[in-house]
């Protein structure tokens, strides 16, 4: 048989076999497996969704938060797209070799600028791949810890082989004078020059070897793709397209199966979430920013995704073929696959969700599994006590609701009761600001500043209950509903135009999660937003410039969750302080460690606590002696951390309102 005919036959067979393998694997993962999941709620907003695909898949927007690796990935991604046509040329060329060994794709094979683009991209891809290998093998970033290294390296080598073999083929053709576009391929020309002087038959052997290498690697890559981290090449488009567009501070409704709230097996996740599990690229960006992981707790958002994915795949396999590792089916998702400790470690800071280039959600699946833990009563004693107190008294301190407004007793004059008389601003004080004796001074200072600005405000006194943000994130959905109902009844009795609170958690839940009919058209403001408004419209005037050098910590539920970054900064500026930013500021701020109900839990075995890391970060700034916060829990956490780590003398932890009061 003639070589070219044999080539065609082999290419056809290889192609069919690999396409079949690829197709079967994709069917099992995306067809059979996803069908096991729960239906998705309707999507809608298709314009925004499509734009997201363009921006975040095409433009790779989020990847640039890690600049150098982001650029490398961008090059590999676009390089691959640019080279797809070349790869296609190689495959078709093989297919038709029996009749026309010199086949060239129309346009692609004759359009000079495209040839130039491909030539340049091929080179850039090689550079980017070498850089990526360097990151994986030599630098060994912490974020890759736990990822599949061998697989990652193999695929990088695949890409290298594909591109290099392409250039060798192109180079030899140029050297042999077979390429009419030679002038458009300077790099390939240079590669071809390496083979100058070889005999025509030697060059042919090299060319054919490069061809077969190229084809083999392309097809191996294709069959290797589904199931591993590189499956994101396929799933990232639907994953980004179907991403959650709700505000981050709104958890989806709690899943419920036969009266059992929460998720206890992989099938109870929605299909879109399952797509997330497949899409994780194991890049570890989420792990790198996770405060729980940094403090040595067993949680890594990346490993969480990988474990969910593995369980989804393995349980699918075990169902298909009972003989195959049926033990997987015996494993409990919550407990065996994902341990209780992992789930309780999360502070729901949203850093991981925000960092993920492909919009993979972590907080939601974590809370879903926590809900199951709560149903089973699997929680530590401290948390249990806090929940019991919240259920009984509406606050986690286990104090009577009658003493909720005790802090007002030492204030001159009466504070209005919003249940009895109309007020413009209803101040929803929150548990910490009401009950924690270490910070009620700050609460009183807030009242004094409000008074000074002649703000018409009132409280709900003993009718206020914990607003429920963290209760919901602990996974105690029933308690959350109970608290919401109690607050709703109380709020309905009050006449007001705006709700103001100093607590970002309360702010988030009232603004984002409370039933719309409760708040209506009225706005919910964080006190930093209110002060900012009052400063700009002149209701509040600051007379003294304080001149301190300060830094500011962004609370998760104010910053990342609700995008309030500028108001507190403008106020700091108005007090005449110099604001020096910490290395992690704005949406990169490190959580204090209190969120998601962690403040109620036993700490467990940890390394350095997030609050201490944060205090050190602040104290390391030259000349900075004050850490400004805008959350009562931050005040507690950081004051405590400053004391226990010996930084209390060098770093004062102060609430924004204290600066404002001083500057009046």
């Amino acid at each position: 048989m003639e070589y070219h005919t044999a080539k065609s036959i082999v290419v056809v067979v290889l192609l069919l076999v690999s396409l079949a393998v690829f197709g079967l694997r994709v069917y099992r993962l995306l067809g059979a497996n996803l069908r096991r999941g729960q239906p998705n709620p309707p999507f809608g907003s298709w314009g925004e969704r499509l734009w997201g695909v363009i921006k975040f898949v095409g433009g790779q927007w989020r990847l640039f938060r890690f600049p150098a690796p982001g650029i490398a990935h961008f090059i590999i991604f676009w390089g691959f797209l640019a080279l797809v046509l070349t790869i296609l040329q190689a495959i078709i060329e093989g297919l038709v070799a029996f009749s026309n060994p010199e086949f060239v794709l129309p346009v692609v094979g004759s359009f000079g600028p495209l040839a130039l683009l491909q030539d340049l991209f091929a080179t850039l891809v090689v550079v980017a791949v070498v850089y990526a290998l360097h990151l994986r093998l030599i630098v060994r970033r912490q974020r890759f810890e736990g990822s599949h290294k061998a697989q990652a390296v193999m695929v990088l080598l695949f890409i290298l082989a594909i591109v290099v073999s392409l250039q060798v083929i192109a180079g030899i053709r140029i050297e042999a004078g077979e390429d009419t576009l030679a002038v458009w391929r300077p790099i390939a020309t240079a590669v071809g020059a390496l083979f100058a002087g070889l005999s025509a038959s030697a060059m042919e052997v090299i060319e054919e070897t490069a061809y077969w290498t190229h084809l083999a690697v392309v097809l191996a890559f294709l069959t290797e793709l589904p199931g591993g981290k590189h499956f994101h090449v396929v799933t990232s488009i639907p994953a980004v397209l179907l991403r959650n567009l709700d505000p981050p501070g709104r958890l989806p409704p709690a899943p419920e199966f036969d009266g059992e709230v929460g998720v206890s097996s992989i099938e109870q996740y929605r299909r879109r979430q399952m797509l997330d599990f497949y899409t994780c690229t194991e890049c570890g960006r989420c792990q790198e920013v996770c405060p729980a992981h940094a403090s040595g707790l067993p949680l890594s958002p990346k490993l969480l995704m990988m474990n969910l994915r593995d369980n989804l795949i393995q349980s699918g396999e075990a169902r298909r073929d009972e003989r195959r590792d049926g033990a997987v089916l015996e494993k409990e998702l919550v407990g065996d696959v994902i341990s209780d400790e992992v789930l309780w470690a999360c502070v729901t800071c949203f850093a991981c969700d925000q960092e993920c280039p492909l919009f993979i959600e972590h907080v939601t699946p974590i809370v879903d599994m926590r809900r199951h833990l709560v149903m089973e009563g699997r929680m530590d004693g401290m948390l249990q006590e806090a929940m019991a107190n919240l259920g009984r008294y509406g606050n986690s301190f286990g104090q009577s609701e009658r003493s909720r407004a005790k802090w007002t007793r030492v204030i001159d004059g009466k504070v209005k009761d919003a249940r009895r008389e109309p007020v413009e601003y209803l101040w929803f004080v929150g548990d910490y600001a009401s009950y924690n004796s270490a910070i009620t001074d700050v609460t009183r200072t807030t009242a004094e500043v409000f008074r000074h600005a002649e703000l018409d405000f009132g409280l709900m006194f003993d009718a206020e209950r914990n607003a429920g943000n963290d209760v919901r994130r602990v996974g105690e959905e029933g308690l959350f509903e109970m608290l919401t109902e109690a607050n709703t009844v109380a709020l309905e009795k009050c006449e007001f135009q705006t709700i103001v609170t100093t607590d970002p958690h309360t702010y988030n839940v009232l603004k984002i999660e409370y039933p719309p009919e409760v708040i209506g058209q009225r706005s919910v403001l964080h006190y930093s937003e209110l002060l900012d408004q009052m400063l700009s419209d002149g209701r509040l005037q600051l007379r003294r410039g304080l001149g301190y050098r300060v830094t500011y910590h962004d609370p998760c539920y104010l910053g990342r969750y609700n995008g309030v970054y500028d108001a507190p900064r403008r106020i700091i500026e108005a007090t005449g302080c110099d604001l020096i930013e910490m290395p992690r500021s704005g949406d990169r701020a490190l959580c204090c460690g209190a969120g998601g109900g962690r403040i109620w839990m036993e700490e467990g075995e940890t390394g350095e606590r997030p609050a201490i890391m944060r205090v050190k970060e602040a104290a390391a700034l030259a000349g900075v002696d004050t850490l400004v916060v805008t959350c009562p829990k931050d005040l507690v956490m950081f004051r405590d951390a400053a004391k226990s780590s010996g930084y209390a003398d060098r770093l004062a932890v102060r609430d924004l309102i204290e600066l404002v009061a001083e500057a009046l």
Binding site: V374, S400, S437, E476, E477, G478, E481
Partner: protein, 255 residues
């Protein structure tokens, strides 16, 4: 194994207690009731035994504010039978003698193998409920129990004595055991489970008989603790009090 847990609601100490004008009882207008803490342990121990040996668990309670919540949350934890005695309430002038007689009548009808009851309550003015109940129903009583093993209808208990001594003893069933601590901390029950129970479980309401307080002491007067001569009361807010305590400890050479 059938187990009965008679429970008692007691004044919640998060509220300041006030004495009634009569001077012999608490002012109920500020009173708020909570399940006696060790009763939670008795309940937990009953559930543990039920889970291990099967059978049923019943809870008996007098009526009162918050009693329904207590009953439904025990149903959510796994109790089968909720009995509420109506017509009388905690907070009415009922001493433990009266409550023990009321509960005793029910216990006799239920014929359980075990009665688990919290060993004490902070308002036990006339002795604790367990021994009184045992007396009225004619069963043996062991108090301060912190472990119960049941094998072939026989029961072995761990009883705690002051000073850390623990005795192991066999008890003939049926018996009343005053539980000091369950073998596992009382479990948490999710609010949604309690809400479910409210919808699906019904209370067995039984009219209480006429109370008989006979045998208990009579209270002449009640008063708040008075400062003893040698005691120093430290006044001020938390910070001041803490600072003074630190000073005092310093003076005493303890820190």
């Amino acid at each position: 194994m059938n187990i009965v847990v008679p429970v008692k609601l007691v004044p919640d100490l998060v509220e300041d207690l006030e004495i009634d004008e009569s001077g012999i009882t608490l002012d109920t207008s500020w009173l708020r009731l909570i399940l006696n803490e060790v009763d939670e342990h008795a309940l937990e121990q009953a559930l543990l035994l039920k889970e291990a040996h099967g059978g049923t668990a019943s809870v008996i309670s007098l009526d009162g504010e918050g009693v329904d919540d207590v009953l439904f949350s025990s149903a959510a934890k796994g109790v089968d039978h909720l009995i509420k005695l109506t017509g009388l309430e905690f907070g009415d002038d009922l001493n433990n003698h009266a409550v023990a007689r009321l509960y005793g009548a029910i216990v006799e009808r239920l014929e359980p193998e075990l009665v688990l009851i919290g060993v004490q309550a902070h308002n036990d003015l006339d002795g604790s409920l367990g021994p009184l109940l045992a007396e009225y129903v004619g069963m043996p009583y062991v108090g301060y129990v912190s472990g119960i093993t049941v094998t072939d209808g026989k029961c072995r208990v761990l009883k705690e004595y002051p000073g850390g001594l623990i005795a192991e003893m066999d008890v003939v069933l049926p018996a009343v055991l005053g539980v000091q601590a369950a073998e596992a901390p009382p479990r948490y029950v999710a609010i949604s489970r309690i809400r479910q129970a409210m919808k699906t479980v019904s209370l067995d309401e039984q009219a209480a008989a006429d109370p008989d307080s006979g045998g208990g002491p009579t209270i002449d007067s009640m008063f708040k603790p008075e400062t003893g001569e040698r005691a120093t009361m430290i006044a001020g807010d938390e910070e001041e009090v803490a600072a003074k305590i630190v000073d005092l400890l310093g003076e005493l050479g303890k820190v």
